[in-house]
């Protein structure tokens, strides 16, 4: 590595840095500042100190939105578990498996809008899922997947899960392929059954990958927006209103930019806390609870 002139180095970095400055760094500070004001983009901002943050705690909708977003984290362990299972199942170089792996990955590269639109109709009262369930006599009358307040959030979560499976499956596949088969062989020779092999040999070696996937999966879960926007518009009765969905509504429909920024700050703090917790959890080997 040679010592280069400052000009050269920063010359290369200039476009990237200036863009990041304007569109990433600047918004962090201004956004945080904006959260202490009341602003509707038309009249000058009004300073309200911690008023917005206090308001969040007495705003029924905000509390529900935050609760829903945190609840959405339930999708993470399910998603990771299923992805690992899928990776284990499909971890062979058969041509057929390559095709099947590809099938699972298709939702990943498909726009969330296409996915949500398709699922919205699948989950409709007269849609594919109810049709199948009723004709197979699993249920007697159609289920209100998206219109029953106690079911809607689970339905949306299921869509997120469906879309993400292939993504994590591929990562876990790569992870599995990076594990030296010697370890598993040794365990098998010692008489360990497949479940024990997984629990005591494979999974611990996979831990870094699981850590990585869990973090990005958790962050994605908290930030869910498009599924809700397309499928339920936050309803019924606020049951699918997530934090980002509410933020969008506050910002684009109600023009409460200061309040929305405060919500954004709260969200960022939650995400930061989540990332830290994930980091600690996996560092201290708390994987027992997973297997």
């Amino acid at each position: 590595m040679k010592r280069t002139s400052l000009w050269t180095a920063y010359g290369f970095l200039l476009p990237a840095l200036s863009l990041l400055l304007v569109f990433t760094i600047f918004p962090i500070f201004v956004g945080a500042a904006l959260s202490f004001f009341c602003y509707n983009a038309v009249t000058p901002p009004v300073f309200v100190g911690l008023g917005n943050f206090k308001a969040i705690f007495s705003d029924h909708t905000a509390l529900i939105a935050l609760r829903n977003s945190i609840f959405y984290l339930a999708v993470v362990p399910i998603l990771q578990l299923l992805s690992i299972l899928l990776a284990l199942l499909l971890n062979e170089e058969i041509k057929a498996f390559r095709v099947i792996r590809m099938l699972f990955y298709i939702p990943v590269i498909t726009s969330i809008v296409v996915v949500a639109v398709a699922w919205k109709w699948v989950l409709a009262e007269d849609g594919l899922l109810n049709g199948a369930l009723v004709s197979l006599h699993v249920v007697r009358s159609p289920i209100h997947w998206l219109t029953d307040p106690s079911l809607a959030l689970w339905s949306v979560m299921m869509v997120t899960l469906w879309k993400g499976l292939g993504y994590y499956m591929v990562i876990y596949l790569a992870g599995l392929q990076g594990i030296d088969p010697q370890y598993e062989e040794a365990a098998r020779l010692d008489g360990a059954g497949p479940i024990s092999v997984f629990r005591y040999v494979t999974f611990p070696l996979l831990k870094p990958v699981v850590a990585f996937c869990t973090i990005i999966s958790s962050i994605a879960a908290i930030k869910v927006f498009a599924e809700v926007y397309v499928m339920t518009s936050g309803g019924p009765l606020l049951s699918t209103t997530t934090a980002v969905y509410y933020l969008y509504d506050l910002f684009m429909n109600r023009l409460q930019l200061g309040y929305a920024s405060a919500l954004g700050v709260v969200l960022a703090i939650i995400i930061g806390a989540l990332s830290y917790l994930n980091y600690r959890f996996f560092r201290e080997g708390g994987f027992e609870s997973y297997a």
Partner: protein, 366 residues
Amino acid sequence: MEDVIARWEKKHPGLSVEWIDLPFSAIQQKLIAAIVSGEPPSVINLNTDMARQLAESGILLNLNEAVSREERGRYYPGFWSPHAFPWYVTTEVLIYNKAIFQQAGLDPNKPPKTWDELVQDAKIIKEKTGLYGWFPAIKFIQELQEQGIPVVDSTGKKALFDQPPAVAWLSMYVDLFQQGIIPRETLDLSKTYQQAVDLYQAGRLGILQTGPQFLNRVRNEAPSVYQETQVAPLPLGKGKVISAAIMNLVIPKNAPHQKEAVDFALFLTNDENQLAFSHQVLVFPSTIKASEDSYFHASTGDSVLDTARRIGADELKIARELTPDLPNAKPRNEAIQAALENALLGRKSPGAALHDAAMMWDDLLK
């Protein structure tokens, strides 16, 4: 409209008015974007819900300051709000099918004058003719107020519609629904009005609550039913008010040419222009003088339309926007819908259903 614009432009040389029509679904996004980017339209025509939403975000001009008391006085006080000029108004009347009344043994010249009578007539018609006598599009909160039943307390933070009188009103609907007197389609509150209209035009509905302008449609699309149609005032409940649907004009704070915008809005909604508009479309002016014009009591040869015009104009005196001006309209409305659905389908008792909705309202109104 072009005529109105031309006349106003003459009075204000150097300024021209551009009139843009947008489909309803597109309005919200475009409008907000235009306002935020600093290039808003000067005057915007919106329904009351949207006008209130904009007002809530603090971007509308306060008209109590921009418009003198004298100028404000020409509007019905029940229609004026600090952030919106009321433009044209529609209320509801009862239209009914004479032939169906006769078939059921009811006197076609004695339409129901009270809600109890209406319920009675609905039962008789269904019983005697097998056709539906009534197909309500339930506007629960507005109807409660028409019955003199309070919806929220004076602080606006506590819901009161789970009290016995309101429960009784809902129970009335539940009984009718479960006895099959009113159609099951009443349940789908987003489609009810359209379906009721279709049923009436097919000659298979006895009574329809509707804005008077609908009569023109019946006249064109179902002339045979129109022959049998009569108009009656909406029965007056104990609250002695009727729900009105108001179209508003609002002005954003950052509108260019603010003074002229106010002037244009005042011009568009003055007695003369509103009266002219009422001649074109069967809607009603929001100003007192215009609504008292003899046009609304004239005989044009079509007695049905004449009656409708007269009744509609008379109703203006007791009409008001009955949608409560409270925050979080969308989830609150959803809560009411859910309560209606639960009660009508028998999933919960009317009292329990309303109580649940009231609790949600209390949370949302905090």
